[in-house]
Amino acid sequence: MMPAEEKAFKGLKARELPKEELFTQGHRACQGCGGALALRLVMKAVGNRVIVANATGCMEIISSAFPQTAWEVPWIHVAFENAAAVASGIESALKALMRKGRLKKEKIFVLAIAGDGGTADIGLQALSGALERGHDFVYVCIDNEAYMNTGIQRSSSTPFGARTTTSPAGKKSIGQVTWKKNVAEIAMAHHIPYVATVCPTYYQDMMNKVKKAITTPGPAYIHCLAPCPTGWRCSPNLTIEVGRLAVETGVFPLYEVTNGECKINYPHRRLKPVREYLQLQGRFRHLTDKYIEIIQERVKEEIAKLQALEKFSSFYKNALANF
């Protein structure tokens, strides 16, 4: 988008949110699906001048049960590993066609959507390649912390202690034994213009970040926590509440990194004890106090690291200005 328009964007107002539904009714998501809500909010923010590349996963299955589609925009289903590669191909093709005059010159956004399996496990190399080549696209990872579509198998994005069908909890196991892979930090290491983490509970923050990402020239990465009542074993009406507690306890802090400058949006008050977030979900029900303490320590550590990064980036910017 033009720099002038980029400057004009001050954030969406709560009373003036877009009414248009580009991810329509009648999709086959479970009751209270956080991912479907996230997609709906993303599409509201992006608008209809967009081409979407969607990797295999829950969000592809539910939106395109064959003779019907829930999308109002051009949409392509790609294999599990190459959402980012296809998005970069679309971006290059648009550029070439516009240069040759076979398409009218206008700004068409490119959006890649994948789940946490398609991002953190299978599609990591395609994502890294596309970010490194610097294509002008936005990659949205809808993170529901396991392979929910095939029946709750663990992914590398599953948090410590969570019970899934391939990391069962029992006498000799506490569920997942490794920590969640931080893909937002991996994307940050590529020095791309914009990285953000969002949660659909904070809808205004989420839509502003998506809008900012899509208007930023160059690649942008958005990591979205999408609570999944089916896989997380919580009541479907608690989707929003679980997302809110994930942010307020510091398990999933919301921050944005613009050209290396980090800003934490939430939580801005004192952290709630992590137990409040864990006790709502059946997948953490087997955890004893010892393991909850371990998770609490880790969360504090991660938040401290993020706050240090926030301080350092402003300090670094000042130092660079005076250099």
Binding site: F66, Q68, A70, W71, E72
Partner: protein
């Protein structure tokens, strides 16, 4: 009802099985998945629109007076609107058969 619309003969498929009609999932009414239905009390409603923005099904629509009304053809009855309503104007009641 929705089942009949969802079955298509292979002879009628487009080239490459491409879907040419955008948003055609609207024909598939997901309302029959529901066990509980949301009931709005208009006297308590403050028209904040939180039920509309938090609905994963996009079932809520704004009417002329500014109230957000649930389209029961699509509502799956998850109860997010009742949980997130700041004034408790929405209650979930069991669907009568």
């Amino acid at each position: 009802m929705a089942k009949i619309d969802a079955i298509v003969s292979w002879k009628k498929l487009n080239l490459g099985a491409a879907i040419t009609e955008p948003g055609s999932a609207r024909q598939f009414l997901t309302g029959d998945w529901r066990t509980q239905r949301p009931i709005l009390n208009k006297e308590e409603c403050i028209r904040c629109g939180r039920c509309w923005i938090y609905c994963p099904e996009a079932a809520y629509n704004e009417d002329e007076e500014g109230y957000f009304i649930c389209d029961l053809n699509y509502c799956k009855g998850c109860g997010i609107c009742a949980q997130e309503c700041p004034v408790g104007a929405i209650t979930m009641t069991l669907e009568e058969t």
